[in-house]
């Protein structure tokens, strides 16, 4: 293996698992996720320049994955989580609702609270609007920081921060609704 190939192999190995996990959320199917990651790896290798600052960056690799996922969705005409978003519209939304109290949930000291989350949390995530779901997935399983997510989404870091807060609040709202429907005792904290 050449020096460049060896270096690329090490680079790719670092993000291999995280790429698959994020791809799984884009496609909802393991087999398709594998295809997406392979295509991402091919394109990354195609443009890989070990001495360039552009390479060795998580944001760069996940940007390629997102583009591949978007093309895959267009070609395969499948349901996908990527929707063009008007960043201005999102940033201009008044932040006042971010200061409102959180939707009520059972206390973490409830013995079955974690069990409840394990049963419901993935479904609650999948029910989020695509733009919200994506930002959470990139952070939680992609392990990207806000700057890297901003690079992937090609938007200002302030937009990522705002969208992340709204996404987590929406997730919380859904979990709260499910908890209430299932008869959990919840506390409203003000």
């Amino acid at each position: 293996m050449t020096e460049a190939a060896d270096s690329f192999s090490r680079f790719l190995r670092t993000y291999w698992r995280r790429l698959h996990l994020v791809a799984c959320r884009y496609t909802q199917r393991g087999e398709d996720a594998e295809d997406l990651v392979q295509e991402t790896a091919l394109r990354a290798w195609r443009h890989y320049a070990p001495r360039s600052d552009q390479s060795f960056r998580a944001g760069w690799l996940f940007t390629i994955l997102r583009r591949v996922a978007s093309e895959w969705a267009r070609t395969a005409q499948r349901r996908i989580t990527l929707v063009p978003v008007d960043h201005e519209e999102l940033t201009e939304m008044a932040p006042s609702d971010l200061t409102e109290p959180f939707a009520p949930l059972p206390s973490t000291t409830e013995s079955r609270f974690r069990e409840f989350l394990d049963d419901e949390i993935v479904a609650a995530l999948d029910a989020l609007e695509p733009n919200y779901r994506e930002v959470v997935v990139l952070a939680v399983v992609g392990d990207l920081n806000y700057r890297e997510i901003a690079e992937v989404l090609d938007c200002p870091i302030g937009t990522v921060m705002s969208r992340m807060a709204r996404a987590r609040r929406a997730l919380r709202d859904r979990l709260s609704g499910v908890a209430k429907a299932k008869g959990w005792r919840t506390e409203t904290v003000r």
């Binding site: 996990l21 200061t99 949390i121 987590r168």
Partner: protein, 266 residues
């Protein structure tokens, strides 16, 4: 810092995305406000369980250096455009604009002249051309690089489960460059690329032998039936062999593509 301000910054705080001063302000508030501390704890647990559950449900293949060897040995296609997301977007917008204009023009023609008896599946042809342009213009890499039709066909057969055969062409007229697996309308397909004189031609094989090629020009050649269509300056040739539909897409003319169809496997 008030409770409402803490709520505004709580997620960024949990993600370690606040600057040192703000982070310290939030931390100090949490130490003296049990209500906000409780919310912080709930959010922390939600995030933790989300990470655990997303990872637990995924079947991630092991990183295999062996697979990577093949990937790295594949020759990328010339010319290589460097990754330039903004330019790429401009090209896509231009392509969409052109596509929209084409659709308006086509709709006008339909209104003026009617559909007649031949309703062509224009979207299928359009998609084939899109894929070809996408591959060639953006310099997509090949997964297997070889000038041997048997070698590439075998590689494609193993990975697509399609009984693909690829044409051997006279070396003075053209050469196979390699192939890759792909999907068309979500259906597994085999993709090979040839350099024919000054241009490129793709050969796509997919299991859609019952696709109706209504509206294509039908020709008989060497005892075989071929169909020909044109779209956005591209020539598309089609033929059926066994349960596979083969499609050749190129900016080259029908005559220049003839070696791919003459006396070859397809």
């Amino acid at each position: 810092m008030t409770c409402s301000e803490v709520r505004q910054y709580l997620f960024a705080f949990l993600d370690n995305e606040l600057d040192a001063v703000l982070s310290m302000d939030v931390q100090q508030h949490l130490e003296r406000c049990p209500i906000c501390a409780r919310e912080c704890e709930i959010e922390h647990v939600i995030q933790q369980r989300l990470a655990v559950n997303l990872q637990a449900g995924a079947d991630v293949p092991d990183f295999d250096g062996g697979n990577l060897d093949q990937l790295l040995s594949a020759e990328p296609l010339p010319p290589s455009a460097p990754a330039a997301p903004r330019m790429w977007r401009v090209r896509r917008l231009a392509l969409r604009g052109a596509l929209a204009a084409s659709l308006v023009f086509a709709a006008t023609l339909l209104i003026v002249f009617g559909t007649g008896n031949h309703e062509k599946d224009a979207s299928f042809v359009d998609m084939l051309v899109d894929d070809f342009e996408h591959f060639v213009d953006e310099g997509q890499p090949l997964q297997v690089a070889s000038s041997s039709p048997d070698e590439v066909a075998e590689w494609l057969r193993e990975r697509t489960d399609l009984a693909v055969r690829l044409p051997a062409v006279d070396p003075t007229l053209g050469a196979l460059m390699g192939g890759r697996k792909c999907k068309i309308h979500g259906v597994p397909a085999a993709f090979a690329i040839y350099r024919m004189g000054a241009g490129l031609a793709s050969v796509v094989a997919l299991r859609e032998s019952d696709r109706v090629l209504t509206g294509w020009r039908r020709i008989e050649r060497d005892g075989h039936t071929h169909w020909i269509d044109e779209c956005r300056g591209h020539t598309i040739l089609a033929c059926r062999r066994g349960d596979l539909l083969y499609l050749v897409v190129s900016r080259l003319s029908e005559q220049e593509l003839a070696p791919l169809m003459h006396g070859s496997e397809i």
